[in-house]
């Protein structure tokens, strides 16, 4: 696992530099805060260049008391496969456990609403990103 930093956040695996100058959001970055309620903070964007990193970061995140908390306030964009990866990880959690998504970006809410209109037991979405 990556080094623990002074502020209590630790870097998890994230992709290296973007290959070309991109839009403002930049590449996928993820840090997990430690403490009684570990939260995975994700920023940048999830697209076909970062699906593998996204899946890895989620699978390595801490599940405590049956919950994996992800804060997506810094996430500028996530594509359909990125959402599917999250759903896949959530469904792969032990029986009764779930992913709690905080401040999901509007595009993710929209995709969930279209593709899983009845909602999913393994995912709870809380709060608006903006």
């Amino acid at each position: 696992m990556a080094a623990i930093e002074d502020d209590g956040a630790r870097e998890t695996d994230a992709p290296s530099e973007p290959l070309e100058p991109g839009p403002p959001e930049g590449p996928l970055r993820a840090t997990e805060t430690t403490g009684p309620l570990p939260v995975l903070h994700v920023s940048g964007s999830v697209d076909l260049n970062s699906h593998d990193d996204w899946g890895r970061v989620l699978r390595q995140a801490t599940v405590r008391h049956g919950e994996l908390h992800v804060d997506l306030a810094g996430l500028a964009f996530i594509d359909m496969r990125g959402v599917s990866v999250l759903v896949d990880v959530a469904r792969g959690l032990p029986e009764g456990a779930r992913v709690v998504v905080h401040r999901a970006p509007p595009c993710m809410r929209r995709m969930m609403e279209v593709l899983w209109p009845a909602g999913l037991d393994a995912i709870t979405i809380k709060g608006d990103a903006r």
Partner: protein, 322 residues
């Protein structure tokens, strides 16, 4: 099990076109179909344009409460959304019963841009429901529709019902319609802005398209939908269309249009029209596009594929003080 000699095994799927003229014939053609389902306590849905929806609602009275009633001009504005979002959504929710649906996807106000996608949709219903215990009755307005739409309905429906009764349609040939309306799209205007893209510039292309949409005046919700749709098309090109492509975007008076072209060919005409498979992580891109845009048109062939999305622009308010 084999079928009795001299007789084809019966396909429980029934897909008649109903040619009607006026409200009386509309009700005569559709009400008994709905009442049959109600009598059997079977699932029944009606997805037709607003005025016909009202006509049926009034005729059904209290019984309308037992029918799923949808305005097709909303639920099925983009014809590519009708099979997954309306027809299969309803049929798949009742897997053990015979399902009946009145579906009217073609109406007189359909535009020239929409019509080819409507005709292809009607043709593809036959493939999407082959073998299913489903009946879909499709009314066609003889007074309001042009001859082309009426002719095409004979090719897209194996059975025709009109005032003369019910009979097999001689012209039934749905694959001809799918091929015939797979036509080159009208060339974008010279004012269209063009961007090449590949795996490494996909985020730039997405960002560029949403910036353009913002400048053009799309609402916040539409911008999210544009971003989703463009990204899925770009991703398809990179993953399945030869790794790269061209994005072209432009605005007309009342809409924003965006083409994504690549060197691939779409072999499966039902791509993007099947509901998502919960056990598969991929294959949802085009389905999602169909759900969030106002119209998706496709031209695909040996020389490549172009997918064109249409987004209606919000009506501009007149400037203050005028």
């Amino acid at each position: 099990m084999t079928a009795a000699p001299g007789r084809e095994a019966e396909d429980p799927f029934d897909h008649p076109a109903l040619h009607y003229s006026g409200d009386r014939e509309y009700l005569d053609g559709t009400l008994p179909f709905i009442e049959q389902a109600l009598a059997a306590e079977g699932p029944v849905a009606v997805a037709v344009p607003g005025p016909n929806l009202k006509l049926l609602r009034d005729a059904l009275g209290e019984r309308a409460g037992r029918v799923l009633m949808l305005d097709m001009t909303e639920a099925g504005a983009n014809p590519g959304r009708i099979i997954p979002g309306v027809l299969r959504a309803f049929a798949d929710a009742h897997p053990d019963r015979r399902v009946r649906i009145v579906g009217e996807p073609v109406w007189p106000a359909r535009t020239e841009d929409e019509y080819p996608a409507c005709a292809q949709h009607e043709a593809l219903i036959n493939h999407a429901f082959a073998g299913r215990d489903v009946a879909i009755l499709c009314p066609y307005d003889l007074d309001g529709l042009d001859a082309r739409a009426i002719d095409d309905s004979l090719a897209t429906h194996p059975v025709l019902i009109d005032r003369a009764g019910r009979r097999a349609s001689d012209g039934y040939d749905p694959d001809r319609i799918v091929a015939e309306y797979n036509r080159p799209l009208e060339a974008p205007p010279r004012t269209a802005i063009e961007r090449e893209f590949d795996r490494f510039t996909i985020d730039n292309a997405r960002w560029f398209a949403t910036s353009y949409g913002r400048k053009t005046g799309l609402t916040a919700t539409q911008l999210v939908d544009l971003e989703i749709a463009v990204t899925e098309l770009l991703t398809n090109s990179v993953c399945h269309g030869g790794g790269a492509g061209t994005l072209r975007i432009w605005a007309e008076e009342d809409r924003l249009l965006c083409d994504v072209s690549d060197a691939g060919r779409i072999a499966d005409p039902l791509a993007g029209r099947r509901p998502a498979d919960p056990d598969r992580i991929d294959g949802r891109g085009l389905l999602l596009v169909n759900h969030v845009v106002d119209l998706l048109r496709t031209h695909t062939g040996a020389r490549g594929t172009t997918m064109r999305i249409h987004m209606r622009l919000p009506r501009r308010r007149p400037p203050a003080g005028e």
